[in-house]
């Protein structure tokens, strides 16, 4: 399959009062056309920052300090803002976490959806209006013609996320970045939005990067999964591999803390503690202090990516030949059930 996006060694720093935060510390992944890659991690793991870096929308105190992002072979980290503006919305689009705040409250939704069409495809207002109404039907907003002129506060959360989706897809982008698009919605609406995104992906052949902290959502949408921790990808593989043969203790922790996985009576696993301070990242494996399977080496050396299969690799010393052989505690759990 054709690779449309390649990220290599991406590093992003933020300057804050307390010092420089190394939010993303070397991330590699790629995305093929029509594929869905999920990036999973706790808040502060750098997943949202990674997505904003791909959009060129880092906050003013943040900057890309290393690595490359290539879209269709073209380097975008060094692009001028003017050039980037042609890419944004037309080739790469994004949906944000909270539909309640990502729409301008003082502008009609029709205007907000059609904005990028007028900008990129140079449509007239009338043409844009027609296409917008069509698009609104596509994302299943009823009475599109009437609602075209309404304001965001006249819509429910789920409806607003449909509007946001429509606005993002207005120019048929190749890549859609979904930054926790369902977190702020309630469960039944979540499922609807995910179904919508999936069906649109099929119709329009979009590559999707789906950012979430919720593995339950991932299972429904992702072809491949990357697990991020403390600014790095600690495990990446196909959805089946990550779900059924997870190799990194952090992934074990995430999987075990899923409600459907853990035993209702005694919780097998929860990840103790909180993510490390990325102003002074710890030496060795950043996850070591929270890892029950931490070894001496974890506190001293950073683990490289160990390849497990062609598609699956993980950064943990447990995969080293010297490491004691242990079985994933998840397997035990599964057997017990």
């Amino acid at each position: 399959m054709e690779k449309i996006l390649e990220v290599k060694g991406l590093k992003v720093n933020f300057k804050t009062q307390g010092g420089t935060v190394q939010a993303v510390r070397g991330v590699d992944f790629d995305l093929c056309a029509g594929e869905t890659l999920a990036i999973v991690g706790e808040s502060g793991s750098g997943k949202s920052v990674t997505s904003k870096a791909m959009m060129g929308l880092l906050a003013s105190n943040g900057s890309i300090v290393g690595g490359s992002i290539r879209y269709n072979g073209k380097e975008i980290t060094t692009m001028k803002e003017k050039e980037f503006e042609h890419l944004r919305g037309r080739d790469i689009a994004m949906i944000f976490q909270d539909p309640m705040t990502s729409l301008n409250p003082c502008m009609t939704i029709g205007h907000q959806i059609s904005e990028s069409m007028i900008k990129h495809q140079k449509l007239s207002r009338k043409q844009a209006r027609e296409q917008t109404i069509e698009l609104m039907r596509l994302v299943e907003i009823k009475d599109a013609e009437k609602r075209y002129k309404q304001y965001p506060h006249q819509f429910s959360g789920g409806m607003r996320q449909r509007i946001v989706t429509a606005a993002a897809l207005a120019c048929h982008p190749k890549i859609l970045i979904c930054d926790e698009p369902t977190t702020a919605l309630d469960v039944t609406i979540q499922a609807q939005i995910i179904d919508l995104i999936k069906s649109l992906q099929k119709k329009l052949d979009i590559g999707i990067i789906f950012i979430t902290h919720d593995l339950g959502v991932v299972a429904n949408v992702a072809d491949r999964v990357a697990v991020m921790y403390a600014g790095k990808i600690v495990e990446i593989g196909t959805a089946d591999e990550v779900f059924y043969q997870p190799a990194h203790p952090y992934t074990w922790g995430l999987l075990a803390s899923m409600p459907s996985m853990s035993d209702s009576k005694d919780e097998l696993w929860s990840i103790p503690g909180s993510p490390p301070d990325l102003i002074n990242p710890p030496k060795g494996d950043a996850f070591a202090p929270r890892n029950r399977f931490a070894m001496q080496i974890d506190f001293e050396e950073e683990p490289p990516m160990f390849r497990i299969s062609d598609t699956h690799s993980a950064a943990t010393w447990l995969l080293h030949e010297y490491a004691p052989k242990i079985q994933s505690p998840l397997a035990e759990l599964r057997q017990r059930r």
């Binding site: 803002e81 944004r88 944000f96 900008k119 506060h153 006249q154």
Partner: protein, 311 residues
């Protein structure tokens, strides 16, 4: 929306009733007030008795007082040749309104521009300037700014007229600036904070993710939205203009309401003081009401569904 305006109107009526009652009580019971001042001339006593029935029982007097107010009669000035207070106030309205409006318009235009620049170029010279103006605007009273300006530009350098003169527009410059200072400070600070909030909001990020240019996002999404709530500070601004006008008008001898208030306070001219109090309250209440309605009309979040015009 209709209900909202009705509730506002009700508050306004209650507030006015409250002020009227208080002023009546002051007239009735305060030692030295015209109702019980022994130093009035017999001629003035007759005048008062005619209008307010000094020997009537209190409720009757109150009713008379209120009905007089409804007829626009605010009483008589016993210091200035028994002039009618309503006439005095009416005669002084235009100068005050002129200087006040000039200060309001100049001040808010400069303030909005300064606020926009400060928010867009944070930590730049303009941003620091805005902060400094905002602090000075609340720290240094208008009468200090006014009298210093008068002394240096008017007396020492003699480049601007020292006192206000109705026919000479140049003479309104200094009083306008002295008054506008607090307006600039308030507007600039408010605009900046509002805009900074909006610039950091998700919908600006989303608008940028659609590929709009920086200036398109700022103009179409940010500044437009930030301007809407700026309308709401018109209320507090009226208060500070009224307050400021008293001292500024005194300094530059503007024949306006503020000046009149200062003179009547110094002369214990009760009817004039109370009358002005009423007029000021009424002005403020009307501005607040208009602002509330206006805000409801221009902010789609408050505006009722249906009938909207801007696409």
């Amino acid at each position: 929306m209709k209900k909202y305006i009705l509730v506002r109107l009700l508050y306004m009526v209650i507030a006015i009733a409250l002020i009227v009652s208080i002023t009546f009580l002051l007239l009735q019971f305060m030692p030295g007030s015209p109702f019980n001042d022994l130093q009035l001339t017999p001629e003035q006593r007759v005048l008062l008795d005619e209008k307010y029935g000094l020997n009537d029982p209190i409720p009757v007097k109150y009713a008379r007082y209120v009905s007089n107010l409804f007829h626009g009669e605010l009483g008589t000035s016993f210091i200035f040749n028994n002039q009618d207070v309503s006439d005095m106030i009416a005669a002084r309205m235009s100068s005050s309104v002129r200087v006040g409006l000039q200060a309001l318009v100049c001040g808010s235009v400069i303030g909005v521009l300064l606020g926009i620049v400060a928010a867009l170029k944070r930590n730049s010279f303009w941003d620091h300037l805005t902060t400094i103006i905002a602090v000075i605007g609340v720290s240094i009273p208008a009468f200090v700014i006014g009298s210093l300006m008068q002394y240096y530009f008017g007396v020492k350098m003699a480049i601007l007229p020292v006192i206000y003169d109705k026919g000479n527009a140049v003479s309104t410059i200094m009083p306008t600036i002295a008054l506008a200072f607090s307006v600039i400070a308030t507007t600039a600070k408010y605009m900046r904070n509002e805009l900074v909030d909006i610039i950091n909001s998700d919908y600006i990020l989303f608008a940028r993710s659609k590929g709009l240019t920086g200036s398109e996002v700022i103009i179409k999404h940010a500044v437009r939205n930030a301007l809407i709530p700026v309308v709401t500070i018109l209320g507090p601004m009226t208060i500070s203009l009224i307050t400021g006008s008293t001292v500024v008008e005194r300094i530059f001898s503007v024949p306006g309401l503020g000046n009149l208030l200062v003179t009547s306070i110094q002369n214990n001219d009760y009817f004039v003081i109370l009358g002005e109090g009423l007029v000021f309250s009424l002005m403020f209440l009307s501005v607040v009401l208009v602002v509330d309605i206006l805000y409801g009309l221009i902010d789609p979040r408050i505006r009722l569904a249906g009938g909207n015009h801007n696409e």
